[in-house]
């Protein structure tokens, strides 16, 4: 119930006075209420839970942490001593 994967806002709508949107989650379109992300605009990514968008994904933050990790790899500080682990969900 607490898992939520990121989706991209495709379209804004209104239903019964509530701000709603169509969100593309991994290729399937779902409706979500956008009342808790009033500043969202089409094209942004968000986390949807129980039919509600809860947070606009912070692109800058996401980029920052990935950059840091990438540097970690490139610095070669840690020589992998074994094969990468089998992550089944890849």
């Amino acid at each position: 119930m607490c898992l939520a994967i990121p989706g991209k806002l495709l379209e804004l709508t209104t239903e019964n006075g509530l701000k709603m949107g169509i969100i593309d989650v991994n290729g399937s379109k779902t409706r979500a209420c956008l009342e808790y992300v009033p500043d969202i605009h089409v094209g942004q990514y968000t986390i949807v839970h129980a039919g509600f968008a809860l947070k606009i994904i912070d692109e800058e933050e996401a980029g920052e942490s990935l950059k840091l990790w990438q540097e970690l790899i490139e610095s070669g500080a840690f020589e992998p001593d074994e094969e990468p682990p089998a992550l089944e969900s890849l």
């Binding site: 119930m1 607490c2 898992l3 939520a4 994967i5 990121p6 991209k8 019964n16 006075g17 509530l18 991994n26 779902t30 409706r31 979500a32 209420c33 009342e35 808790y36 992300v37 009033p38 990514y45 986390i47 839970h49 129980a50 039919g51 509600f52 809860l54 947070k55 994904i57 912070d58 692109e59 933050e61 996401a62 920052e64 942490s65 990935l66 990790w69 990438q70 970690l72 790899i73 500080a77 840690f78 020589e79 992998p80 001593d81 074994e82 990468p84 682990p85 089998a86 992550l87 089944e88 969900s89 890849l90």
Partner: protein, 361 residues
């Protein structure tokens, strides 16, 4: 897929595993609160690939697991009524009461429907004015904004044939209960990313200080989890009891102010029973007086229903990180996902079910 693939990168995961191994000098016990994280950790074999000195124990953060048996019984009684359309998130339908589950009520002619959002339940109420539509409002702080909005909207529109059966719980009081237990072994926490998306992580700072534990909000993908574990180990090794966010793209210190606003307008903090654990003071949400007419327990007079747990089940200890599922004598014997005896075997997010599914240990 954006925001998914990069967090499943095997090379990055390996780097993080190596770094965790490099900085760990002694045994640490870390609890992931969230059942979704438990599931991801076990599915990806993260607990198996970590150094032996890092022990992950699984927390109570599975809404299906902690919804008390009384609430399930109340749902079954309400759902069996002729005038009722009973609506719920799909995961609650398989949860057995003392003798049946919601699927069985449906097979026996009850109108039980799975909805994705509580707003869909409200729509069913608008479409069926001659029926009573009840939504099973369970969950943690992640579902609270959705459930609150359905009630808020029903009140605003004057939809009178809608009500909610509430079993809404919160993470920080459960952490306090775990840390206060004389049997506690948890030294650091991974906090549940999406709970923190709603509430922010500032509310964990007093817990970290009071109990001297580091707390690290993180996400659900392998790289998120490993980055969270790495940070927790770093803080433990340094003797620091800080709250450090490792899910910056989704979690802020303050959380979501709009969601918090509606939660506090519709709900108030109350004592709540947790399945397998018992009552935790000020750990749940109940409808405020202004919204009492939307309370299904009162509308259908089911407040007095009680229920008895299986005496074999040790899920209370499992949910508090005191026991691993395989330490339970009923695990994979009397108790399986097809015939669950306890809460943590019922839900796919439950620790017992995850161990069973992925053949652990």
């Amino acid at each position: 897929m954006k925001y998914i693939d990069e967090y499943r990168d095997p090379q990055l995961a390996q780097t993080l595993f190596d770094e965790i191994r490099r900085i760990t000098t002694r045994h640490w016990t870390i609890m992931e609160i969230c059942g979704g994280q438990t599931h991801s950790i076990i599915r990806n074999g993260i607990d198996q690939l970590l150094p032996d000195t890092i022990e992950l124990v699984h927390g109570p953060g599975c809404p299906v697991c902690v919804t008390p048996l009384e609430s399930i019984e109340r749902a079954l009684v309400i759902a069996s009524r002729k005038e009722v359309i009973f609506t719920s998130f799909g995961d609650m339908l398989r949860v057995p009461g003392s003798s049946r589950d919601l699927f069985m009520v449906r097979s026996a002619g009850g109108d039980v429907r799975i909805v994705f959002s509580p707003l869909d339940a409200l729509q069913i109420a608008r479409d069926n004015p001659s029926k009573e539509v009840v939504f099973f409002a369970v969950g943690f702080e992640t579902t609270a904004p959705a459930n609150a909005m359905a009630v808020w909207q029903a009140a605003r529109e004057g939809v009178e044939n809608f009500s909610v059966l509430v079993s809404q719980v919160m993470v920080p009081p459960a952490m306090r209960a775990i840390l206060s237990s004389p049997d506690n072994r948890v030294q650091g926490f991974l906090a549940a990313g999406h709970v923190c998306a709603v509430m922010g992580y500032a509310e964990y700072e007093p817990v970290a200080r009071e109990f001297h534990v580091p707390i690290v909000p993180t996400g659900f993908e392998p790289v998120d989890l490993l980055a969270g574990i790495l940070k927790t180990v770093e803080l433990l090794e340094e003797g620091k009891a800080d709250v450090v966010n490792r899910y910056g793209r989704v979690v802020s210190r303050e959380g979501n102010p709009w969601a918090q606003d509606i939660i506090s307008k519709v709900f108030e903090v109350i004592d709540r029973p947790w399945r397998g654990i018992g009552i935790i003071p000020e750990s749940g949400l109940g409808l405020r007086e202004e919204f009492a007419s939307y309370n299904a327990e009162q509308r259908f007079n089911v407040t007095n229903i009680c229920a008895q747990e299986s005496p074999l089940c040790m899920s209370g200890s499992v949910l508090q990180g005191i026991l691993k599922p395989d330490a339970c004598s009923a695990f994979a014997k009397e108790c399986t996902p097809e015939h669950p005896l306890g809460a943590t075997m019922v839900s796919s997010e439950g620790a017992c079910a995850a161990y069973y599914k992925y053949g652990l240990p």
